[in-house]
């Protein structure tokens, strides 16, 4: 199969592109997403990249750095032996090579226990792990206006479906390519919002980003893993399924926001759910992290763990 743009052999299918044109396509798609949503105002703006040492965050650091954005990396060490220690070792070498500032914060030091320890009490460990990960990223990115994450099209399609299957309407309204610019909160941006996980892997491979490509040992037990396999089966049969899920979600979210005033005049169960979902984000009374109630989930969990 030939590249759609030249006579070279294609290395990627749908779109059919050779190495040179795939790299151009990938980087342009990232830049287009940044521009479409106004994620980064100018190249002087300091951006914190949430980095794990996996392919998504390293590819994101690489693209933004290559395109001249002012990036620094923040990593969270959850304490997963044989997995996170290896990816962080790679990340440290990568940041040193590309002269990118890197901060690493650990669960052990900040929470008091590693995920390997917590997994004995909380199974699957993914919910607890995700809660503390978001908490530490919030706590240590306060000096930045924006934090970029490597969330991709696959992650976002999974999140939409997970929230539908669990009827988590409040989370449904808060997903999307970026959070609102609210005083006192670091804005979260997702430049890979429309990029498939397979495209990121291809990019990482082509650029020789010799990453530890393994899956987290706790991931196969998660609900996300079940949803991921299901969506991938659909995508195999019907190309474009992931993009359809995400674009349909964006349209729904827009409609919800447009109709909020109309909804406010009608008091019924549905309107209450939508209004709750669009409530402004509050600050946790304990730590100041984004929160829907008085105390955030991470502070409640910390108290439970240390009781």
């Amino acid at each position: 199969m030939n590249c759609d743009k030249c006579k070279e052999n294609a290395i990627y299918q749908d779109p059919n592109l050779c190495k040179k044109h795939f790299i151009e396509y990938f980087e342009q798609k990232t830049i287009n997403t940044i521009k479409k949503f106004g994620m980064i105002k100018n190249k002087q703006e300091k951006i914190c990249v949430a980095a794990s040492g996996g392919k998504d965050s390293v590819a994101l650091l690489f693209v933004l750095h290559k395109k001249g954005f002012n990036v620094e990396a923040l990593a969270i060490d959850e304490g997963i032996k044989g997995y996170r220690d290896r990816s962080l070792e790679f990340l440290q070498e990568f940041c040193k090579k590309h002269k990118i500032n890197l901060k690493i914060k650990s669960y052990k030091k900040e929470i008091g226990k590693t995920i390997d320890q917590l997994s004995k009490k909380y199974s699957p460990a993914c919910n607890v792990c995700g809660t503390f990960r978001r908490y530490l990223l919030d706590q240590h990115s306060k000096e930045y206006k924006k934090i970029a994450t490597g969330h991709n099209l696959d992650d976002e399609a999974q999140a939409v479906m997970m929230n539908i299957l669990k009827a988590q309407t409040s989370l449904f309204a808060r997903q999307g390519p970026m959070t609102k610019d609210i005083d006192g909160f670091t804005q979260k941006i997702k430049p890979f919002y429309f990029i498939k996980e397979k495209e990121i892997m291809t990019y990482a491979f082509l650029l020789g980003l010799n990453i530890d490509f393994e899956e987290c040992p706790y991931a196969p037990l998660s609900f996300r893993s079940y949803v991921r396999d299901w969506i991938n089966k659909e995508e195999k049969e019907n190309q474009g399924t992931k993009l359809n899920i995400v674009t349909h979600y964006l349209k729904l979210r827009e409609d919800m926001q447009d109709n909020i005033q109309k909804i406010e005049t009608k008091e019924n169960k549905f309107s209450k759910v939508v209004k709750d979902a669009l409530q402004p984000i509050k600050k946790c009374h304990e730590c100041g992290s984004p929160c829907s109630g008085l105390i955030c989930k991470a502070c409640k969990l910390k108290e439970e763990i240390n009781a």
Binding site: M1, N9, A10, I11, Y12, Q13, N16, K19, S52, G54, K55, D56, C126, C129, G130, E197, K198, I200, M201, T202, F205, L206, I211, F213, E214, E215, C216, Y218, A219, S222, R224, R228, N232, K233, E235, K236
Partner: protein, 64 residues
């Protein structure tokens, strides 16, 4: 043909004729979840394989 499946760390010799897509079907691997390198270079699913090839199947799924 030598097949290396990176996710499960499997290595096997296989007598196979056909394309990458047919190989993945035979191995019951979802083409959406992998990229494939032949002799170290990425190739598309319609690529015909020969018995001398070394095929590496890399999982695109990582993280949690």
């Amino acid at each position: 043909m030598k097949i290396i499946i990176e996710r499960t760390k499997e290595e096997k010799e296989l007598d196979f004729k056909g394309t990458i897509e047919e190989l993945l079907q035979k191995l019951k691997i979802n083409k959406e979840e992998v990229i494939v390198a032949r002799n170290g270079a990425l190739v598309t699913l319609d690529t015909e394989l020969s018995s001398e090839d070394e095929i590496k199947i890399l999982s695109v799924i990582s993280g949690g």
